[in-house]
Symmetry: D2
């Protein structure tokens, strides 16, 4: 399983969240001590690539990806120390399907949209053809890699992500479930998305036939305080941070996003709706 | 455009042809002085990855690929110095379509088959969806990259490459031309394939709406002599070498393969048939 | 031989010079048609890695490097499209000595300083030990790669680059020549440096026993016009661009920097002094 | 800390030990569940590169390295499935010092010698200059990376590794301890080497001021049986396998090599001598 975080609010340097905290996403990618799932199983190392996507003064996002572990990458540390953004996301990958290559790293981008995912679908190699046939033909050239995640993103675009994100994701999930169930009644679909158009940040938490992936958010500027070392500047007021994994020691500052929820975030306004 | 070579005969170390000669494939990948096409235009550098595939004592071939230039790669030099094979191929890539990633590097393999290509099809990004729909569903999971070449290989497998190579390639080319011509009457299809099952070596030279890519072969053990330096061992009797690019100074030892030809090679027996 | 450019002036997006012009540094790295040296010899492809370094709001520069060709790198294109800097440099590498690895890519950085180089010293593998013994012991841990260029940078730092750049480079060159001449009276030292502390841009052009590498600068905001395509924004007034290679069609807008010159640049004020 | 294995005996395919067993070196590199040290601490993931070195029909060894994790590398799996060797070693890296680059990956080679290491020396960045000054000047050009391990190998060569391995390692360790103790009386030196000239396999286990790294060997052809799955062929009689990490469930088939021991192995003849 992968891990991700997302931020929206006043511009901050990316290293504030991605590389500097003692329990930063990059630290999590290596240090498997904390990587237990709900069932108490030790999860695998997130060493199969990483990526960041951010919005600054350009309408379309910047994206930087590599197919190597994040933990010792000097480019990542350096870029996160120099890039400021009002909205950004970051992802570390542990592959369940798909080769180790940059085109399989998150976030994926299309025009002004960014998308990242943690989760899985059963039998993806067998289902891939039918899922990709449902992608709009004009979006088919945008398939660069061979992951379920990129397929989900292009399906969501096909169903109108840029016009109505929630509705598009609903139609996408319904279509994917239909294809999955034809293959296997007990097949798993487990989705934890972070999506942005540069204006708002959206997340989806949805699962079918499996315990859902986690999502937590905080609008508390002190939410990273316990992980801070001297070098981390404070997080500004009026922002929201969303993470895919529990940060156990700071429960009171972090809100759990319930399963089957679609969330819309603007600054520190977090609106959660039932998804399906 | 890419470049490739292929060998079949008594086992030799791969460096005999791939890395050691003064005008080896690896030297060609860097040294653009000789990279002129038929029209006298200087061709681009082949720095977008490389690959080797070989047959030794295992039925399925060994494959080694990387998405970096071949010219300074110590792994490639070292492996070619240690690997002996009775049949092998090597490829250096200059991308016309598809990302720079290992899954886009040649040769492609499937079971005991190897396949490499130099050439192009017009409008591949637009045609890719329809071409890939023609791939047998059970072969769809074998799509790892996003090149026309891998698509051609999986189409050939779909049409029976493993049973009747020539017939399968004919059906594949007919199908591809049909799809191409619906998109663009003047669209180009230009194919130079090397294919092997470990028993025989096959090549195809075919072009439509463009001057064909070149193919030359030699069964002369002294065919590399002019490029030899002291370290290259002689090539054994009873072998065949095929190359995608002209080696101008040794014309008399090299035979041009005509356009629209399918060639079957076993040791130094070279049988050429009209293709379509 | 490598190629580089450097810019100082009002902040611009890096792609204005590095990736967008028709004859950009990245285009030059691949397209060997224009890579002739003074003697009319076709130069090798600059495919052995690249790097950019830039100054924004942080005192220390940002640096991004990779050991793959620049020409198809999406990270480089994306970052140059999003990063704005008042002073920056970029480098494409064709190795003469040193492995293909990120730690051998330019620019090199130390605290608030950046350094990049095009050139060579004869017999570097044999001279390296003695040259590196002259590096201040406290700077020895800063040796990450195995190039002459990094060694020159650390020697310059040893001799006081941060206090008096010209004097430090003079002492460095004198020391290097002494070591070189003990090995080979006819040995070549050929240096073309771009250096910055984030406040000024410095260049050195110096050669010994060989025709010097070239350097050209322009303070003309229209200097890139002939290479512009529609997407390139104009360069602001009051800036200076320095390049390592001749741009033949725009001679009148570009000034040649003479050999044996140390140049100091602040905005569009260019001061050239005899070096030794 | 790194991990390694070494084999000598009748030729076997490398995947027999490196990639196929359920508890193979490559599995260990990822699956941190078993990576506890003597103190019960979970050790870090070995994702910072890997390498294999082997002896076949050439006097000098083949070497293949990459600076990415071993666990999903198709090249490694493919090469280990096709390469047969009578003597080989393999290494997965978790860096304590030195950049992530191929020149820092083990095994290191020089002429017909291979060398790999697990361990550390305190304060290596500060000690590196003095240690490397002790390398014979004619071997200085062989420094390609920036690890303590490569430095130890070149020091061993300096002190006569090719003539008398044990004596050379003794002199090397004495020299290194002298340099270390001038810097820090409590400094740690912890060495676990595997070395070969293609005729014999040597190991060193030595520690100073720290609990030693482990070494285990087996001459029992069934030593891998408990880790075997159906695809693993049996190990031949008359061979020796050495590993750097405990394989707890098979204690009776594995012998612990004591600390401060130099071991010489030829087929299944294992001779252990007190080192210092």
């Amino acid at each position: 399983m992968c891990r991700w975080l997302a931020y929206t609010g006043d511009p901050i340097y990316l290293d504030t969240l991605i590389t500097q905290p003692d329990h930063s996403l990059v630290q999590q990618s290596l240090n498997s001590k904390l990587n237990y799932n709900n069932a108490g199983q030790l999860l695998s190392t997130n060493g199969d690539g990483f990526g960041i996507g951010w919005y600054d003064h350009r309408p379309e996002p910047g994206v930087f990806k590599d197919d190597i572990p994040a933990w010792h990458d000097k480019n990542l540390a350096n870029l996160c120390h120099h890039i400021r953004a009002h909205t950004f996301m970051a992802h570390v990958r542990a592959t369940t399907t798909g080769d180790i290559q940059r085109t399989n790293c998150h976030p994926f981008s299309y025009k002004n949209w960014l998308f990242q995912h943690n989760g899985q679908i059963s039998h993806f190699p067998r289902l891939r053809r039918e899922l990709q046939l449902s992608i709009a033909p004009e979006l088919f050239p945008a398939i660069h890699g061979n992951t379920d995640s990129e397929t989900f993103f292009l399906l969501a675009l096909t169903y109108g992500l840029m016009e109505n994100p929630k509705r598009a994701l609903q139609r996408m999930v319904e279509e994917v479930l239909k294809i999955l169930e034809r293959e296997d009644k007990d097949g798993v679909l487990n989705l934890s998305f972070a999506i942005s158009d540069g204006l708002k940040l959206y997340t989806l938490r949805f699962s079918h036939n499996e315990a859902p992936m986690t999502q937590f958010y905080s609008t508390d500027p002190s939410c990273m305080e316990e992980f801070e070392n001297d070098e981390i500047p404070p997080i500004p007021n009026g922002c929201t941070v969303v993470v895919s994994e529990p940060l156990d020691h700071t429960d009171s500052k972090w809100q759990k996003i319930e399963n089957n929820c679609f969330t819309t975030i603007k600054q520190n306004q977090v609106t959660t709706e039932t998804f399906l």
